[in-house]
Point group: none
Chain length 223, copies 2
Amino acid sequence: MQILIAEDEQQIAESLKKNFRDEGFNAMIACDGEMALKLLDEIEFDLLLLDWRMPKLSGLDVCRTLRQKGIQIPIILLTALGDLSNKVEAFNAGADDYITKPFSFDEVLARINAVVRRYRLSKDIIEFEDFTLDLSRRLVITLDKKQIHLSDKEFDLLKFLVQKKGEIVSKEILCKNVWNLNFVPQTNICEATVKNLRKKLEEATGKKYIKTIYGEGYSLIAD
Amino acid sequence: MQILIAEDEQQIAESLKKNFRDEGFNAMIACDGEMALKLLDEIEFDLLLLDWRMPKLSGLDVCRTLRQKGIQIPIILLTALGDLSNKVEAFNAGADDYITKPFSFDEVLARINAVVRRYRLSKDIIEFEDFTLDLSRRLVITLDKKQIHLSDKEFDLLKFLVQKKGEIVSKEILCKNVWNLNFVPQTNICEATVKNLRKKLEEATGKKYIKTIYGEGYSLIAD
DNA sequence: ATAAAAAATGAAAAAATTTTCATGATTGTT
DNA sequence: AACAATCATGAAAATTTTTTCATTTTTTAT
């Protein structure tokens, strides 16, 4: 996960970054609001941790600007003041959550998880066991945030199986949905692609996910 | 936009169709529920305007049948009866919205816009001028519903430009976001890919969309 | 008008993906 | 156990995509 920390107090920013690294997250620091906007414009982040008080542009301004532009990245605002009116202001500006300083890193983690989970529901992200499919970016990410590189057909096949997880999917249906064929071809395209997908999934996770049901089809199983 | 009007009262149907044409939408009329289903099966529509009371199959039946088949087209139900229980029934059957007769055409337009916007947000669909990007299926569709076949890199490039439509995007930023490079390579990968993308877009739409801003970058422009 | 920098282009080379084919292994049935 | 059907596999062939390179064209500044 790629996180942008927009925070002018270097100590806090660095400490967050270090903690994130230990969690396997990749964090980058912007020391003011303008820099944050610039970085967000250039690089794709999964989450923005945004300090309220910052030089040049306040966190609130950054938040409003982003939402105005239609950018939907999850945003958590950090603030030193814990009163309710700030909270309301934060949400009105388009923040997804709100943390009061001083905070523990555990709290940050918990909030991030909640916010990101909500975000995923609204986006096209499907989780299955040890990996996550990002349908719009066509990425498969493992638990340890590594990317599994799948070819187009492999991705389509996995996507279809994940969408039908547990169910048995016949080759006929696969041909329709992955190859857009209304018949099962004479060749063994399905089997060949399944084979390659299996290999990549096992290399990445060490587990066997695609089960063959003799005479019926394939099925994606948990463990 | 391709609209199907399912309405047995010819006068209403024709009036709607005429109004739609003035708005630049293409509408087709089905005079009963069965005909509506048949047309929906054969032609891709963007919206279904569905009368409640119709011969053979009622609007509600059509709605339920479509949803049962997993077809997700936005549906607006038209009804002569304005009571609340109908509204609930409509939504339960899977309609997206509900208009009570008599209605003004402005109201129809407003509801259509709202429904279609919501649908697009939920589907990760971005529109730009004469084409539409379907991010989760990685498809580019022209106004006349033809598919533009783009390679992976071409799609990523177009997607990025569409997301920044109007803005100038430097090669540096493209390299970061399309090729995941933190530098501009010595070779002219960007230019070459832009060239191929331009060719395909122009072949499909006859228009030039990607403008070069000398020394600065590229920009996707309207017309 | 001219030179230098930047961008466009066509074609070739390199790399990756998709598909096919021949062969071997597995499964269910009799 | 034997058979037929089904599936798995490795490797080759075919196709497509990506990248590079040499050259031409365009743009900007002088």
